[in-house]
Amino acid sequence: MTETFFNAMARYSWRDWLAIVFLILLAVFVAFPFVWMVSISLQPGKGLTLPPVYIPDELSFQAYRDLFQTQVPFLRAYWNSIFIAAMTTIGALISSALAAFAFSRLEFRGRSVFFALILMSLMIPLSFVMIPLFFQFAAIGLLSSVWALILPMVISPLGVYMLRQFMISQPKEYEEAALVEGASYWSIFRRVSLPEMAPAMASLAIITFTASWNNFLLPLVFAQNENQTTLPLAIFAIGMTGNFVDLAVLMAGVVLSFAPLFIVFLFAQRFIVEGLTNTGVKN
């Protein structure tokens, strides 16, 4: 056993060891705030102490219980976040896939110009268009609806770009074969291109879901009532409630909002990497 261990060690050069040590340090550096966050959430009433206590003597889940007793409708925010992120993801997948199909497989006048416009919109931050969007949704009477937090994010220039790049790396003979066999464009999209795009769509789904889940600015500006409160807003509200901030309760909220993404990332990181590396690579 020891021999095997040393044999395995001997395979690495000092450069490898240097890289391994660097990566371990980097991982610790990145993981540290998360570990501390969980640690604080398990020490109710203590707040920040100096020196910090990373591993509590006694574990308490009281902060998690208290979280649901605050004036902030945390459960409602949780459900809203799930609904908004899911709807945004579904919408972004559908719109991006349709646009990517058109930009990669259909010939039409102005195709390059339209695609360039979409790429240009990637460079405009959401905060730039926030006010016009606000008035637009107010005008159509959707401002107090949960859809005001979904619809602005449904059209995803990044999604169009990602899927389009993925599609142009795939042989177009699939669609041509279907066309010769008498399939309509809709049928080609649904039966041939959509399954073809599946790997890239999986990574887009994760990216979109995460972005929507973490979105703070849009709900902050748009949300008018409890029905539109999302997790980032709820956590923000907990932090702002009263004179005293129970850090453990706040961190419990953060841990619960972070948990679903952590689980998704754990299982789907392969898709994210694949999706991002596949796009733009032409066979």
Binding site: A177, A178, V180, E181, G182, A183, A198
Partner: protein, 355 residues
């Protein structure tokens, strides 16, 4: 089945003209092979037949009907692609049934057609597999199956054997030809491989630089190439091409090569002043170890193919290849004297046109 007629057909991409004024006829039920080097326009021509590319000039007729503006499906064509284009997420069965489902044919009819095609192509045990579980040859058969079930008027094949190994290519050539004998459909087959063209075609169209250089039966194209390009492209090893000029010499034609060598061939009705190149197939040379009659060459290297020899020879100015039934009489560095029978000579003018 359909007779295909092209009348001054052209295709341009902006200012780039890919096909120029092509007029030809492919008869009903014919196995036509379009052969040519990369970039000659042969695949573009097939895509114009299929409707995947728009025609920019001239007419394309199927059975006398102009199909220029028709959608691919209205033309009644089926196409087999070079990379097979089998839908990776569908089973073999679903791949073959795809076009029939699009036509909304009854399920039992689809099933019968798929199974019949699978039986013809001997792929019945593969019907539930996914394309990635198939070998190249099996994928090829599935792609052909997908074409067969639609009972098209015209089959289009775009270099369908180019991804297969040599042995499988040979086998599939025979199978495709026998499939044609069985179905008797019009088939248009594009390839850059002149062996495929020679072995499979009823009629060959040799393309070069966006034009059809010559069309005819394989025998005709091989034995009487109308241009120097065709002469060199068809046949392996390629035809020897020896630059020369000619003098009429008492009923004979004296071909004078570089280095003052000459060869006397029986005179034909050729205008001696226009002769620029002598072409001879590698197997048409008569070899002699004893001079001095004929064109003197030296053996630069030999390739023993078992039943025959390929002799790479060089004269004072040219290097070319000869083919000879196997013998152990030849050695590297030996001198040979070559002569050629009058019916085996091909003379071309300075523009590469046959004289």
């Amino acid at each position: 089945m359909a007779k295909i007629e092209l009348v001054k057909l052209s295709k341009s991409y902006g200012a780039v003209e890919v096909l120029r004024d092509i007029s030809l006829v492919i008869e009903d039920g014919e196995f036509a092979v379009i052969v040519g080097p990369s970039g000659s326009g042969k695949s573009t021509m097939l895509r114009l037949f299929s409707g995947l590319e728009a025609i920019t000039g001239g007419d394309l007729m199927f059975d006398g009907e102009r199909v220029n503006k028709m959608a691919p499906v209205e033309r009644g064509v089926a196409m087999v692609f070079q990379n097979y284009a089998l839908y990776p997420h569908m089973s073999v069965y679903e791949n073959i049934a795809f076009g029939l489902r699009e036509r909304r044919e009854p399920k039992d009819q689809i099933d019968a057609k798929v199974r019949h095609a699978a039986q013809i192509l001997q792929i019945e045990p593969l019907l539930q597999r996914r394309p990635k579980q198939l070998s190249g040859g099996q994928m090829q058969r599935v792609a052909i199956g997908r074409a067969i079930v639609r009972e098209p008027r015209v089959f289009l094949f775009d270099e369908p054997l180019s991804n297969l190994d040599a042995a499988l290519r040979g086998q599939m050539r025979v199978e495709l030809k026998s499939l044609h004998d069985k179905l008797k459909n019009t088939m248009v087959y594009v390839t850059h491989d002149q062996v495929e063209a020679m072995t499979m075609a009823d009629k060959i169209f040799v393309m070069n630089n966006g034009r059809v250089e010559q069309s005819g039966s394989p025998r005709e194209v091989y034995s009487r190439p109308t241009t120097r390009f065709v002469a060199e492209f068809i046949g392996s090893p390629k035809m020897s091409m020896l630059p020369c000029h000619a003098d009429a010499d008492t009923g004979m034609l004296r071909l004078v090569f570089g280095g003052d060598q000459s060869l006397r061939v029986p005179a034909t009705s050729v205008d001696a002043s226009r002769v620029a190149t002598l072409g001879v197939r590698p197997e048409d040379w008569t070899l002699s170890l004893d001079g001095p009659t004929g064109l003197k060459v030296q053996i630069a290297s030999l390739e023993d193919l078992g039943n025959e020899l390929l002799l790479h020879v060089s004269s004072d100015t040219d290097a070319f290849t000869l083919r000879h039934p196997y013998t152990d009489a030849f050695r590297h560095g030996q001198q040979l004297w070559l002569t050629v029978a009058s019916e085996a000579i091909h003379l071309f003018d300075a523009e590469g046109q046959r004289l």
